[in-house]
């Protein structure tokens, strides 16, 4: 069913919701928020998009492969950042001797924390969207066998 009010309001609201989610992600070390909350807001905006417009259109924009790619990329970046500390002679996942720390209070500060926050945001949003699509298909694949 075409619902005109839902479509128009969602087209107006979705950019602001995603902008708010990006703000929470990028200011994870300056104000309350961080990786999990920012990823949850962005994932919720993607679910809202796929609930309002019909599902066939979503398969073009945000395929199942894309959301799984973002989730796996987030996890791999997290593990990879830890090995940088090992290469320089410190422990796994070290921040102080390895990454540039900067001035506390600015946007580009706190080395490892900013990169990990972005990776966690990608991972959590990919997880939420991928769980939603998985539960929606309900276990029947292309051949129709349950």
């Amino acid at each position: 069913m075409h619902d005109l009010i839902l479509e128009v309001v969602n087209r107006l609201l979705l950019p602001f919701i995603q902008l708010f989610g990006m703000y929470i992600l990028f200011h994870g070390h300056l104000s309350p928020g961080g990786g999990f909350s920012g990823g949850a807001v962005i994932g919720a905006s993607l679910i809202l998009y796929s609930l309002t417009f019909r599902f066939a259109k979503v398969k073009h924009r945000m395929d199942h492969d894309t959301s799984v790619f973002f989730e796996a990329a987030g996890a791999l970046i997290y593990v990879g950042i830890g090995f940088v500390g090992l290469f320089f002679g410190y422990n796994y996942l070290t921040n102080r001797g390895v990454f540039p720390l900067g001035v506390p209070g600015q946007l580009w500060s706190s080395g490892m924390i900013l990169v990990i926050t972005l990776a966690l945001g990608a991972k959590v949003s990919g997880t939420i969207l991928s769980l939603f699509q998985e539960l929606l298909e309900g276990g029947s694949d292309e051949h129709g066998t349950p």
Binding site: G34, V79, G105, I113, I116, L135, G139
Partner: protein
């Protein structure tokens, strides 16, 4: 009897828990046992050690980054488990 038994058991558990709540340290007390320990070190040293002014982000992503890696693994395993439960079995390609 079948309808009354859960209510009785839950009333017993509820009374025990309420009596425990009455014995807990006062809410908001600055000298409670939960605030002695590591809290002062985290509040004073996190701006110098990590460069982040959000103390909770500094705790979970710098002092305890390994635990957050385990948590990301739990999310990953949840997606794997849902995929295996809903698509597993019957795929003999």
């Amino acid at each position: 009897m079948k309808k009354v038994l859960p209510v009785l058991v839950l009333a017993a558990i509820g009374v025990l828990l309420v009596l425990t709540v009455a014995e807990m340290p006062t809410f908001g007390d600055s000298y409670a046992p939960a605030h002695r320990g590591v809290m002062d070190k985290y509040l004073q040293d996190s701006a110098v050690d990590t460069g982040a002014i959000n103390t909770i982000a500094a705790i979970i992503l710098d002092y305890r980054a390994y635990d957050t890696l385990g948590e990301a693994t739990v999310l990953f395993v949840a997606v794997l488990a849902v995929t295996a439960a809903l698509h597993g079995g019957g795929h003999h390609a």
